[in-house]
Amino acid sequence: MKKRLFSILYMFLLTFFFTSIVSAVKIYSQAKIETNQRVKLQRIILDVLRMPVGEGISNRRVVELFDQRVRETEGKDRTLYVGYAEDGRAITGYAFPVGGPGFWGPIYGMVAVDPSGTEILGVAFYKHSETPGLGARITEDWFTKQFRGLPLRPEEAKKKIFYLKSAGTAQAGNELDAVTGATGTSRAVEAFLNKELAHFLKDIWPEVRKKG
């Protein structure tokens, strides 16, 4: 009996001790982790809005730029990030988060459209579980840059906004190069991004227009 009580007490004290240490470390690092995540998102938003955030730009500069040039506003089912020109008046674009099923897991990204809502300014993917070197290449510049200037209103109502074709065979304006060796990921991106863009144009954009 005494032995059992000792075991319980021992485990209790040990747990108490280690949980305290872990909690202390967590509290100490919490702010830093949150800043990291916030800055990462801000960098992505600025990037799709085509504001200058290259590799060399420090985190502090990113936060500054974001505070100056971007305002958040609530859209129908997601936050919209409105980009302003340097004078702080003219709107340069609207960014909004998108997401959908990838090949291995969900993919999250950010899309920006121009102020008139007729073409895409930029696209970025920031969270995914695709294979490194294959599907994960959707985050690379050559892939995301293709979306710049993509017209958002298809000529025929039934057509998708864009199609991913095997690299090198893309011809029409709405055909982009897929990632070679990652057919699954490319198909998934084509499916979910088209759906999200259509949803944005149909359900979110009219409201944005009204607000002016």
Binding site: F6, M11, L14, T19, N36, P132, L134
Partner: protein, 207 residues
């Protein structure tokens, strides 16, 4: 009780004779998962070295007080605490790598090497040798991972630490990036070592 090993012997055991990956075939999951980029491998190794040495040290310090029946529970708690500390630190100071490693840092908790060393060595030995044993074993693990990463990154991406080293015409071997590439590399490595550097005991048995 077996005779206590000298410090040098502890290192020879951990790095070579009893190498956790090559001889004991432990910790294979993370070996396969994080070796496609050298930089990920380095961070993972640092995390494992910290966890194994600190857990071994702690388990050894508490060895005389921990009741036999609940020792596994206590060990798991100790290991988990250190791993969470590593995980939080990486997320705070190396956010990009933290994302690339994904769940694998947290999975150090279930890495057989950590609990294996606590059970097999630290709970019966004084703190200092236990610390050294943990260090030797985790360095043994690290060396193997580095070798595999040094094969996989150049062949799979054509780079080392992100610097291009392969000639321009080189086509990256996609398979090297994925898990099968690691299986082949590890398999060849184990085969090579067993074939050309058999252990003394192994030799005796074969004769």
């Amino acid at each position: 009780m077996p005779k206590r090993l000298t410090n040098t012997q502890i290192f020879v055991q951990g790095l070579w004779n009893d190498n956790p990956v090559l001889r004991q075939v432990l910790g294979i999951c993370s070996t396969l998962a994080v070796t496609n980029l050298l930089v990920n491998t380095l961070v993972m190794n640092a995390g494992l070295v910290f966890t194994v040495t600190m857990s071994s040290l702690t388990v050894s310090l508490l060895r005389k007080y921990t009741p036999m029946r609940i020792r596994m529970m206590a060990q798991t708690l100790i290991i988990a605490s250190y791993v969470i500390i590593v995980d939080i630190s990486i997320a705070a100071y190396l956010p990009d790598i933290s994302e690339a490693l994904g769940p694998y840092v947290g999975l150090i908790i279930t890495n057989c090497i950590v609990m294996g060393r606590c059970e097999a060595y630290a709970r019966n030995n004084p703190p200092w040798p236990s610390f050294l044993d943990g260090l030797a074993m985790s360095l043994g693990y690290s060396c193997v991972l580095l070798v595999i990463a040094l094969v996989r990154e150049p062949l799979g991406f054509g780079t080392i630490l992100g610097q291009r080293i392969m000639p321009d015409g080189f086509t990256p071997w996609t398979i090297m990036i994925m898990a099968p590439g690691a299986f082949f590399t590890l398999g060849l490595l184990v085969w090579f070592l067993r074939a050309y550097f058999p252990l003394v005991t192994q030799e005796k048995k074969e004769r």
